[in-house]
């Protein structure tokens, strides 16, 4: 995803000289093509994320479109108030790319996990939040949002090879990308964890469960109409995200269900507790938090079992 993002950004910079790239001293083997092609529009600002957001605000006031790059928690949490009082409050065209949503930096420990970035950003009015599921969708998401008004957050994964089957890179802000409809239940996924949801849906279907699956990559503005429509058609929805269960996709879906008085039951699968002192591979951490395809199948079957008379 980050590779696709960086390549697309070079293309955008070729097309529009307002595009700049700032990094908080991260992006080794990712940002070099931009830095080499546009040395005057690339700034490694050092390990100083607050200043990076402040700089970007000042640059945007003059008409530039600065992209900021760092690992998700450093890009979002450290300078959060600068994001609020700068790009959000002034409506500046600042773009923040947070790499490593979820457990992608799994061996690096909690400081590097991105588990609350979507939650804390989607509550800011005017902030666009995009969390692509794979590199093809990341490419299209960037293409379709880079020049929109106001600030944008891109939650990116590191992987540039895996694609989510059936998604075909589709992206439209304010819409849900449905991969498959199902009458028994619907899995809604945000980010690269979508491949686990797709695999779980495939296995459930094999077992005779009519399981739908959809990707929610445009988190804010919320795809409320699409969500309300598809949630009205199923008795059960399982949200799947590599994010704390509070604040992210699960919360968004619950808000829509409550706001539209839908009868659909929502099970929120995500990270329940602070993963204190636990690190490891992304696959391990997904399993440990009940987010593997196996665990999602089990959750679905248990929930469906309860529904039977």
């Amino acid at each position: 995803m980050r590779g696709a993002f960086a390549q697309t950004l070079v293309q955008l910079a070729e097309e529009d000289e307002r595009v700049l790239l700032l990094t908080g001293d991260l992006g080794y083997m990712v940002l070099e093509p931009f830095a080499q092609r546009f040395p005057d529009r690339f700034f490694n600002v050092g390990v100083a994320e607050q200043n990076m957001v402040g700089l970007a605000s000042g640059l945007a006031e003059a008409g530039f479109i600065p992209f900021l790059y760092s690992i998700a928690p450093f890009a979002v949490l450290r300078p959060y108030e600068f994001i609020r009082n700068g790009p959000v409050m002034h409506g500046f065209q600042v773009r923040i790319a947070g790499v490593g949503g979820g457990f992608e930096y799994g061996h690096n420990g909690l400081t590097h996990f991105g588990l609350e970035d979507v939650g804390v950003l989607r509550i800011l009015p005017g902030m666009t939040v995009v969390a692509p599921a794979d590199h093809a969708q990341a490419r299209n998401a960037l293409r379709s949002t880079w020049n929109m008004p106001g600030p944008v957050y891109y939650r990116l994964g590191k992987d540039d090879s895996v694609t989510v089957g059936g998604l075909d890179g589709r992206f439209e802000l304010g819409r849900v990308q449905t991969l498959r409809e199902g009458r028994d239940l619907l899995m809604l996924a945000m980010g690269s964890i979508a491949i686990e949801a797709v695999e779980a849906a495939r296995r459930l279907t094999e077992q005779g469960v009519d399981c739908g699956v959809a990707v929610v990559a445009g988190i804010a503005p919320a795809p409320t109409a699409d969500l309300a429509a598809i949630l009205a058609r199923v008795p059960l929805a399982i949200t799947v995200e590599e994010h704390f269960v509070n604040g992210g996709l699960g919360s968004l879906v619950s808000e829509v269900v409550a706001g539209h008085q839908l009868s659909c039951r929502v099970i929120r699968k995500g990270v329940e507790d602070l993963p204190r002192g636990i690190s490891g591979s992304q696959a391990y951490l997904r399993r440990a938090n009940g987010l593997s395809a196996d665990a999602l199948c089990e959750t679905a079957l248990r929930a469906l079992e309860k529904r039977r008379p």
Binding site: A48, G54, L55, E61, G63
Partner: protein
Amino acid sequence: MITSRDIRLIVLEQSRRAHVGHIGSALSVADLVSALYGRVLHVPEVDAPSRDRFILSKGHAVLAVYAALFLKGWLTEKQLNTYCADGTLLGVHPEHELRGIDFATGSLGHGLSLGAGVALAARMQQSPRRVFVLLSDAECNEGSVWEAVMFAAHHGLSNLIAIVDLNGQQALGYTEQVLNLTPLRDRWRVFGWDVVDVDGHDVDGIVSTIEGLDTRQGPPHVLIAKTVFGKGVSYMERQIKWHYWPMSDDEYQQAVREVGGKP
């Protein structure tokens, strides 16, 4: 025509009318604001892209800036009289929605990085516009100030002029007791800035100092402006309580007399 006296009188009048504090801070910067808006800032039109930018990083002193905007004719008397009223654009901290305010501020430690971005943008656009950022001395407690200080020096942002309102006070005490800043000028200097001392109440001195700066090449500049908190009102000067305290009628009348007005 902008004079420090008129700014001070408006600060007092509006603070009395609205019955609010932050008077001492606004009086502290009155001469700096008078110099900037009266004689320094190049602003052919209030929203001209080529204009010099001004960022009041110590947003709580904005009443002095509202006064200057009014004296410039960019703000009507009617607007000025909404200071701190319900639904006003003229709050205790500046909003960029108000014509003449480039950036909303109020959270200390934000303004210098904004200014560094504005200065970098001006250089990339080959514009001669300059950026002035007025900080409080206690604001230098914020680590983010020093992030911006390092960036501006590294990139030689000579079109960036920071002004530190060195009044030695902060909300709850004197800076030397709360978190000592000395030697403040040395700290900026070793970070690579051109440091200039000025008397923050000498308008001619402030103007001539700024006119003497090379804003086309070399390091960024900082004016360490020695000021007196509450300047011009004897009972407010160097008194901690006038950070937040509002005036009574008697206090107001004495204050107006002391700054040369008619109560």
